[in-house]
């Protein structure tokens, strides 16, 4: 079925889903109308605009059924690992083991937005002393307390060290609630001194060999804990296969991003691209299915590119987006205002780079972990943004701040300065709260003004 690309409502997407089922199309069991999730409380879905494709339908169903998958895994005796403050490292180890799934408890930060605050997760966090001044990741506390979302993991890991203070405080609270955590340390990445051996990291950065060795030793501890949990050793060949499998996800996303962000007629809306990219860090609790979901989406994008079918006006302003947003409507809003995505840096660009397969796997994972944009200086992150924005021919950079999130409270200014110096394109910072309803007119003004600025620049 080749549908013309367009953005549609949830009701229309559900209709598409029902027609696909009625036509006898073979669909995974989890694919179904999104209204079932609205019935469960995800009311925000009613107000989003979706890509009109079976591939997007599958993507959304996959995303929204993660908790069901985790509960099913628990019922089947599969071991569950919660990998906190981990943007794509420990899940690679976990999925290399049989009978283990990893998920990202931090992802609960989207739940209050999807449920328009009706779930009370922030309220529980508030009672524990984590109010609005804290990063929205505090929603995770509520999920650990009310147990209404993900099952309590069999093993919890969390990185510490060069991570934001808010998160450390929240994770310590999780532990104080009776959920033991295996902490592993990640140091602040620094350039090697002249007398130190330099190691090249994915993403074009470098670090002293001593830092890489330290991270590798920390990851070895995590690996041992995972082996105990799984009751099976994680051999070199299994680990190499796990790395190769993670790289399949990363390569698929790299191709999707290349097509989506470089093609003149935008072939995939911003919202679906945000969701797709998020799959890189934790695979939505099913790595194999992630690969299939991304393959579907990439195939749809390829078809549109070939047929020159875009989802937006061809003159849409090309905006490079920095940091994820909790209120997903803002991704729709960018397009409503005449913009489109031309590159992203959702805080985990390192998880989109292939893990080196020509190195011992633990060494490769240590290097990848150290390449995390959040553990290095903001200028490193800005340099990566400049490089990617240039490659995707972005005409503006938008830094969306997350209230209370300390890792992005000040680095916006650094990013703005570096981008202006290097690319001389407009940079705008804007704050997007988890439920942005009251802010929509202001956010619209800022996005429209950014688009106007870009269009005016084209005339010069």
């Amino acid at each position: 079925m080749n549908l013309p690309p367009e953005r549609i409502s949830m009701e229309e997407l559900d209709l598409l889903c029902e027609r696909r089922r009625a036509s006898g199309a073979s669909l995974p069991a989890y694919v179904g109308p999104l209204r079932r999730h609205v019935a469960e409380g995800d009311r925000r879905l009613l107000r989003l605009q979706y890509d009109a494709s079976p591939a997007a339908m599958r993507l959304w169903s996959f995303l929204l059924t993660e908790e069901e998958r985790l509960h099913a895994a628990r019922a089947a005796g599969v071991k569950i690992v919660g990998t906190m403050k981990d943007l794509g490292t420990v899940p690679v180890l976990a999925y290399a083991l049989p009978n283990v799934v990893a998920f990202y408890p931090d992802g609960a930060w989207w739940t209050p937005c999807l449920m328009e605050l009706s779930d009370g997760l922030f309220r529980i966090a508030q009672l524990l002393g984590f109010g609005e001044a804290f990063c929205p990741v505090r929603a995770m506390l509520g999920a650990f307390v009310n147990r209404a979302h993900f099952p309590i993991p069999d093993l919890l890991t969390c990185s510490a060290g060069a991570v934001c203070d808010d998160f450390s405080a929240i994770a310590q609270c999780v532990e104080s609630l009776g959920h033991p955590i295996l902490w592993w340390e990640i140091p602040h990445r620094r350039p090697p001194e002249p007398d130190e051996t330099a190691v090249e990291l994915p993403g074009g950065f470098s670090a002293p060999a001593s830092q890489v060795a330290f991270v590798r030793s920390e990851l070895d501890r995590v690996r041992s804990a995972l082996e105990v949990l799984a009751g099976a050793p994680l051999g070199a060949s299994e680990l190499a296969a796990g790395v190769a499998q993670a790289n399949r996800v990363r390569r698929s996303l790299a191709e999707l991003r290349r097509l989506a962000y470089t093609t003149e007629a935008c072939p995939m809306p911003a919202l679906e691209m945000l969701i797709a990219e998020m799959l890189a860090i934790h695979f939505c609790s099913d790595q194999a299915e992630t690969i299939r979901v991304l393959a579907d989406l990439t195939e749809e994008v390829r078809r549109r590119v070939k047929e020159k079918h875009g989802v937006l006006a061809e003159d849409a302003a090309r905006v490079f987006w920095v940091n994820p947003v909790a209120d997903l409507r803002v991704m729709n809003l960018l397009e409503d205002c005449g913009g489109r995505l031309a590159g992203t840096e959702f805080l985990f660009s390192h998880a989109l780079d292939p893990i080196p397969e020509d190195l011992p796997p633990m060494e490769a994972l240590a290097r990848m972990a150290l390449a995390d944009p959040m553990v290095g200086p903001s200028t490193d992150r800005a340099a990566r943004i400049v490089r990617d924005a240039r490659a995707f021919r972005a005409e503006a950079v938008l830094v969306s701040r997350i209230p209370g999130a300390s890792h992005c409270a000040l680095e916006g200014a650094v990013i703005a300065r570096v981008v202006r110096e290097e690319l001389a394109i407009p940079v705008v910072e804007m704050e997007v709260p988890p439920v942005a309803d009251s802010m929509m007119p202001t956010l619209r003004s800022q996005l429209e003004a950014l688009v106007e600025t870009v269009l005016e620049r084209r005339k010069r």
Partner: protein, 259 residues
């Protein structure tokens, strides 16, 4: 040809009629904002046309801007206040490089390219601490009129230290200051300093001269000086600062009609 600009701001609605051939504003009006932006905009536009003896057909195009721009049904197009202020200020001050606009509910900083187009911008998007709303709160708390704040500030000897983080918090501070016997004049000067500090923090070190101050708050005596102190740079107040958004919208209306 006449272009009309309507700036539906959060506190006031402004209308400007601009004559492109003569290169000047032929009429303008301001009215306090109500709940019905659309009706007020239509009424004010019709009133201006009637007063000037201009038939509606003489207006080639109408552009609406400001917070309530999308509600103005009489407009042919909408343009954001960022773009309109840039155009409006450059009309009055052709060499403007940095614009500080402080309105009733938000404040904006614009950096302009040498040709007058917007390089980039920033908005104070959450708290009213850097906006005219702060002045309204303090005027109400002190039982003073908005138009008397300038005189009060001028009579200050030592501006009171007041938080620039949060209006609600600052109001509590003001109550405390009053209770401790602080002079009203020093409190007003302290509030002006707090607003200016907030705006200066948004601007950071990216100050390119000349800095032009516009928006309704630029009409408040003492604010430009407070801003200049906070920025450690000279600040010029734009002519007719409350009207620059509407002037810009009218100029853009003329350009669009000619295109």
């Amino acid at each position: 040809m006449i272009g009309a600009g309507i700036d539906a701001g959060s506190r006031a609605l402004k209308v400007v009629l601009f004559d492109q051939e003569r290169g000047r504003t032929v009429a303008s009006a301001v009215r306090d904002q109500g709940t019905d932006h659309d009706r007020l905009a239509c009424e004010l536009l019709e009133e201006l046309l009637r007063d000037e003896g201009l038939p509606r057909e003489r207006v080639a195009r109408i552009v609406a801007t400001g917070y309530g721009r999308r509600a103005v049904s009489v407009a042919d197009a909408t343009v954001t206040e960022i773009t309109c202020h840039a155009v409006g200020v450059r009309h009055h001050v052709p060499d403007a490089a940095t614009i500080v606009e402080i309105g009733g509910q938000d404040s904006k900083l614009l950096h302009l390219n040498p040709d007058g187009t917007v390089r980039d911008f920033a908005m104070n998007d959450r708290c009213a601490a850097g906006t005219g709303r702060f002045l309204e709160v303090v005027a109400s708390r002190l039982g003073a009129g908005l138009d008397s704040l300038g005189d009060l500030a001028r009579a200050a000897d030592t501006p009171a230290p007041i938080s620039s983080m949060c209006v609600v918090f600052a109001e509590t501070e003001i109550i405390g200051l009053l209770a401790s016997g602080a002079r009203r004049e020093n409190i007003v000067a302290g509030v002006q300093t707090a607003i200016a500090s907030r705006v200066a923090a948004m601007l950071g070190r990216d100050v390119v001269l000349p800095v032009i101050f516009t928006g309704g708050v630029a009409l408040v005596p003492g604010m430009a000086q407070a801003l200049a102190s906070a920025l450690a740079a000279p600040v010029r107040v734009c002519p007719q600062p409350q009207m620059t958004g509407a002037v810009g919208a009218a100029l853009i209306a003329c350009r669009q009609a000619s295109a």
